[in-house]
């Protein structure tokens, strides 16, 4: 067993870390305030092949492993959680299902430009009444000639306002329950497909989250992803991969909060000494560091498991459950150690705290992760 990153993984980490420091960090606070999607940076990420890291090179990707991808999301999220999720949603939720289930033509037409970062992807499963109960899909898709006609609404869709290609799930046969759900590839400019207003959120403000509205939206038959009726399986399998990305995002947010705090407590003086000299501070820092390292082990292990083939649902669920929990705890304690300054927008800590919360919710809440983990032991 080797806990060392390979030379390749180390170089990827360094390059992404440099990118995050030079390109992402300078705009992170600003886009949190303005909620403007970072188009320019996303274009640069595409040019540097950061938007198709685990996609095989034959489909336009970088052909690296899932761990390199997780490290990328982690490093981006240290600077800005929004950049982390843009990369994660695009890679895990849009590219990955195309790698796994896309036809040769679909890979050529959609996966290649997505993996090269020429197009941006999004994933649409959640509906107003289908959150954790994702099987209760109300959006329908009816075959009419050579086209499926989509009707319904999707909500809380990451990257929505900026995406060119959407992986959308809809009910093709209500009578079959989850086996009546199918996946579709929908282009942003398809007639009958419109976007709702940009959601006003607590954190990850620039990820352009929106509602998708399908009103007799006609999608060519060849854009069915996988087989008809296999959509739920595709959706769930895709989320397993996405959870590694979200876990890595949480990890990056937590690490940044700790890094900021270590620096701050060494400088901040109270009662004539640096607050780092107080045992309470030392114990808090020790707890944060230990939990972050434990979270990192789970995240990297899940990434490793995905590349081994076979099921990695439990590993991904554990990584996401724990890393998101750690991100919340660490950012909360980081604010506490910063005192009043931590509550102010002048410091990045409060943004990290707001960005951390979503990692416990999207791509399966913490409770869903526990269902997956428990279920794997108790079935």
């Amino acid at each position: 067993m080797d806990f060392e990153l390979t030379d390749q993984q180390k170089m990827i980490k360094k390059v992404v870390s440099d990118f995050a420091e030079k390109e992402v960090e300078p705009i992170a606070a600003e886009i949190d305030e303005t909620c403007e999607f970072p188009y320019e940076n996303v274009e640069k990420m595409g040019e540097a092949h950061m938007l198709g890291i685990p996609v095989p090179q034959e489909y336009g990707g970088a052909g690296a492993d899932t761990l390199s991808y997780a490290i990328t999301v982690e490093e981006l999220s240290k600077a800005c959680g929004t950049h982390g999720i843009i990369c994660s949603a695009h890679t895990s939720l849009a590219c990955d299902p195309l790698v796994k289930y896309g036809t040769k033509e679909q890979k050529e037409k959609y996966l290649k430009p997505l993996a090269k970062g020429e197009l941006l992807g999004a994933y649409a499963l959640t509906e107003p009444n289908a959150g954790t109960d994702a099987a209760s899909q109300k959006t329908t898709a009816k075959l009419d000639g050579d086209e499926y006609v989509l009707n319904g609404n999707k909500i809380f869709i990451t990257n929505a306002g900026a995406a060119d290609v959407f992986i959308v799930f809809a009910m093709t046969d209500k009578s079959k329950g989850t086996r009546g759900i199918s996946g579709f590839i929908v282009e942003a400019d398809t007639p009958g497909f419109t976007l709702g207003k940009k959601e006003d959120k607590m954190g990850i403000n620039a990820s352009d989250t929106r509602e998708l509205i399908f009103d007799d939206c006609r999608v060519p038959k060849e854009n069915l992803l996988g087989e008809e009726g296999k959509g739920f399986k595709i959706a769930m399998g895709t989320l397993d991969g996405g959870r590694i990305g979200v876990a890595a995002q949480a990890l990056g947010i937590a690490q940044r909060a700790l890094d900021e705090t270590v620096q701050y407590v060494k400088e901040r003086e109270q009662f004539n000494r640096a607050i780092s000299k107080f045992q309470n501070t030392q114990f808090k820092i020790a707890e944060m560091e230990t939990k972050i390292q434990a979270a990192r082990s789970l995240v990297y292990q899940a990434a490793f498991a995905k590349d081994q083939g076979g099921s990695f649902s439990k590993e991904a669920a554990m990584a996401k459950y724990y890393a998101s929990d750690v991100a919340m705890e660490v950012t909360r304690e980081a604010i506490q150690l910063h005192g009043g300054y931590g509550y102010m927008k002048e410091y990045p800590i409060e943004r990290l705290f707001r960005d951390a919360k979503i990692t416990e919710i999207y791509e399966g809440t913490t409770e869903v992760q526990k269902m997956v983990i428990g279920g794997s032991l108790l079935r």
């Binding site: 390749q8 170089m11 390059v15 640069k44 970088a62």
Partner: protein
């Protein structure tokens, strides 16, 4: 447009600390990077290749670990990378280094341009680029902050202390570039994968690859530079209050300045 870029792997000086006892760099745990202005050289070469076609070959003389720097150059988009590494090269000063690099360049097919960074952040000599041009007998322009190529001529903007001059030269030419010349691209993740999977490869050349050349000019024997001492300048603050009449104080001050060799006698 076939372009050669010479690069050096250097310690990241942002991370470097100096051992106050020994006066040497503490290299342990310090990450190595491509010398920043050499990276500008790579970028300029890649930009010209994109505009005019051709190839970019990156050369480095250094220990086996310098392969990492060359892999990064490949990941940025260089076509070929050659590491010149041999025990015979050890201890080379700038004169021996530029001789070795020149010998290697002569082994390559024709080239139109050579880029070097102005100077390395560890040695700061700014000698290697110029010496290569001299060895090869080609024109050189140093301190370059802008490059325009048209037909068979190059127009360069050369930084001066109090302004700049614009020069035109024919090809082949060697240019040493400043950090202002461009913003180096990020190595692509795909490029990094290719450089580590064997898709692209760093070639390793020893002394025997350099043809029939004067090997006494390699390494220590070819290096007239002697380093007598390295030390960290100490910054001590001392204050001495001079007493007496203004005239006496002035004399004392002059004596003091002479003693400290601030002014000559």
């Amino acid at each position: 447009m076939d372009i050669v870029v010479c690069v050096k792997q250097v310690p990241d000086t942002n991370e470097v600390k100096i051992d106050p006892e020994e006066g040497t760099l503490i290299r342990e745990g310090v990450p190595s990077i491509i010398n920043p202005e050499d990276k500008n050289g790579i970028e300029e070469a890649l930009k010209l290749k994109e505009e005019f076609g051709g190839t970019v070959t990156v050369l480095s003389m250094g220990p086996p670990q310098a392969e990492k720097a060359l892999k990064e150059a490949l990941a940025m988009g260089a076509d070929e990378a050659i590491l010149l590494s041999d025990k015979a090269f050890a201890g080379s000063d700038t004169l021996a280094t530029s001789y070795i690099l020149s010998c290697a360049i002569e082994q390559l097919d024709d080239f139109d341009m050579i880029f070097c960074g102005r100077q390395a952040i560890d040695g700061d000599t700014a000698q290697v680029g110029s010496q290569i041009a001299e060895n090869l007998g080609i024109p050189q322009v140093t301190y370059v902050e802008d490059v325009k190529v048209e037909d068979n001529t190059v127009e360069v903007k050369r930084r001066l202390e109090d302004g700049y001059s614009v020069l035109e030269t024919s090809l082949p030419v060697l240019l040493t570039v400043l950090g202002e010349v461009n913003e180096p691209r990020y190595p692509s993740i795909k490029g990094i994968v290719d450089a580590h999977s064997g898709e692209t490869e760093v070639k390793k050349w020893g002394a025997n690859k350099l043809g029939d050349v004067d090997q006494s000019k390699f390494g220590l024997s070819g290096s007239p530079t002697q380093v007598h001492d390295t030390f960290v300048p100490t910054h001590e603050k001392k204050a001495e209050i001079l007493s007496g009449t203004p005239e006496e104080k002035a004399h004392k001050l002059i004596d003091k300045l002479k003693e400290e060799k601030v002014v000559s006698k």
